[in-house]
């Protein structure tokens, strides 16, 4: 049972990570900075609960704001470049964040214990959940409430004019500009929203693992972040969720028995999935088919 609860935590947090990349991808930007925002969220939230004694929800709000603000600041220079150059620039940013935390030490004495981030050794003893008597199940429920809220917000954003504008910029920047859209503002906003979401995800991550260190927030995590929405497809937020379940639940956990061969098969299966479903696991066609399936029988009202 604990295994499945642990898996549910991972899937929930990675869904947040994937959704943060989803927002940015809608505008056509491939950003490998999401792991950096995630790291900032993790350290900020951890420091607030451990060092400042805050409770979790306000700590998560602040970590979201800090990550969002950094994303906004990074967005302006980063989005001047496009395509591969953007990938390089955002990767560099992510690594810079990681190296910052590699060197970042801020500890306070608490009894005979030193608490707080300690450079390369990481930030241990983020014991908010055990100290406050949360069971693993409580944590899982909390995570999934947050995931549900974020998904609902993005679902609604997607259906608003703002969502259509994000997608318009992603499809054709020139046409968007010529239709009166300020593409810089739109791209920076998308980056900021992505930063907010990654900050929340990172903040939760820090608390359920209780021990974070720089190495967890490297390029591999950044690649996962972007792989989820690409594999899941950009037609709606559920694609990303599906992709996280597929990768974390099936590929990583389900194939653990294969040992080292897993990594090979892992790459192969993703390539296969992308070939079978080039527009993502949950593409527009499937979505429409599902909708028809669920609405059939109760729609004779004639449009």
């Amino acid at each position: 049972m604990d295994f499945y609860l642990g898996l549910a935590q991972i899937i929930g947090v990675h869904t947040l990570l994937g959704l943060s990349a989803y927002c940015v991808l809608l505008t056509g930007q491939v950003s490998l900075a999401q792991a950096g925002f995630f790291a900032i969220g993790a350290y900020v939230a951890g420091m607030l609960t451990v060092l400042a004694g805050w409770s979790l929800v306000p700590a998560l709000l602040i970590s979201a704001l800090v990550s969002g603000a950094v994303a906004c600041a990074v967005g302006f220079p980063a989005l001047r470049v496009k395509g591969l150059m953007l990938v390089v620039a955002t990767t560099a940013f992510g690594e810079a964040v990681r190296l910052f935390f590699f060197n970042f030490t801020y500890q306070i004495q608490a009894g005979n214990l030193k608490l707080g981030p300690h450079g390369g050794e990481g930030f241990r003893q983020i014991r908010y959940f055990p100290e406050n008597g949360w069971s693993t199940l409580d944590v899982v429920i909390f995570i999934w409430i947050v995931v549900a809220l974020v998904m609902a917000a993005l679902w609604w954003l997607d259906r608003s004019r703002a969502g259509a504008v994000l997608r318009a910029v992603g499809e054709d920047e020139l046409a968007a500009q010529s239709s009166g859209i300020n593409i810089t503002a739109v791209k920076v906003s998308a980056m900021t929203i992505g930063g907010l979401i990654a900050g929340i995800g990172g903040g939760i991550f820090a608390h359920y693992t209780t021990h974070i260190e720089h190495i967890q927030f490297g390029v591999v995590l950044a690649t996962f972040a972007i792989a989820y929405p690409i594999l899941g497809g950009l037609s709606n937020v559920f694609g990303t969720l599906l992709a996280v379940i597929f990768i974390q639940g099936f590929l990583i956990e389900g194939l653990r028995f294969m040992g080292d061969w897993r990594n090979l098969l892992f790459g192969g299966l993703i390539v296969l999935a992308m070939n079978i479903r080039p527009r993502g696991l949950l593409d527009a066609g499937t979505t429409r088919a599902l909708k028809r399936l669920f609405s059939s029988g109760k729609e004779p009202s004639g449009a």
Partner: protein, 249 residues
Amino acid sequence: MLELHRLTKHFGGVRAVDGVDLIVNPGEVLGLIGPNGSGKSTTVNLICGLFPLTSGLIMFKGEDISALPPHERVTRGIARTFQNIRLFGQLTVWQNLWVAQNSAEQRRQNPVRRWFGGGGSAREDIGRTLEFFDLAHKRDELAGNLAFGEQRRLEFARAFAAKPVLLLLDEPAAGMNAEEIDQLDARIRTLRDTGMAILLIEHHVELVMSVADRIAVLNFGQKIAEGSPAEVQNNPLVREAYLGTATAA
């Protein structure tokens, strides 16, 4: 309404637009014609601000807009269509118009309503625009799935959705059949009669001759003639440019 003064754009050694003076007045259709590569599309791109001028000046409603970014020019009332259709193919017909509502008046709306709300008047505007361009029955279709003529109409409609006072149409009739061209002709007249200024680039001679109030002719980036359709038609320089006589004046 729009005044171009010595408008010039060089791409490396290519003088795409070379010292063009042009005026478009409210309630007027100015036809802009010329052989392939004569700088018509580049002129439109410059008016929209897609690239910086080499030299010259663009005055719009009495103000110099040469340095404004493209989206602010739309807000001031300049909208365009593209020679090669550039719709948002993965958005619906309705959404294509929705995202283009960027006039100054539309921008003044309460931002929460504008970006996230249903928007009553915005919705009505789109409905009327769809009717006018005969696209109401396609409103929930993806733009990328429309037939070619419908895509051209939708692009025109998208430009109109920003409530422009100056419309730049880059070969709107290209690839259309005779019936569609007639409808286009009628639409352009209707809009002109509301006081809109229209710059019409077109290779389809009949359409320009019929709908344009004045015509300007470009050749190798320079304006070689300007006048009423009849005047332009009888201008020897124009005939030469089109017939490609090697001994240009």
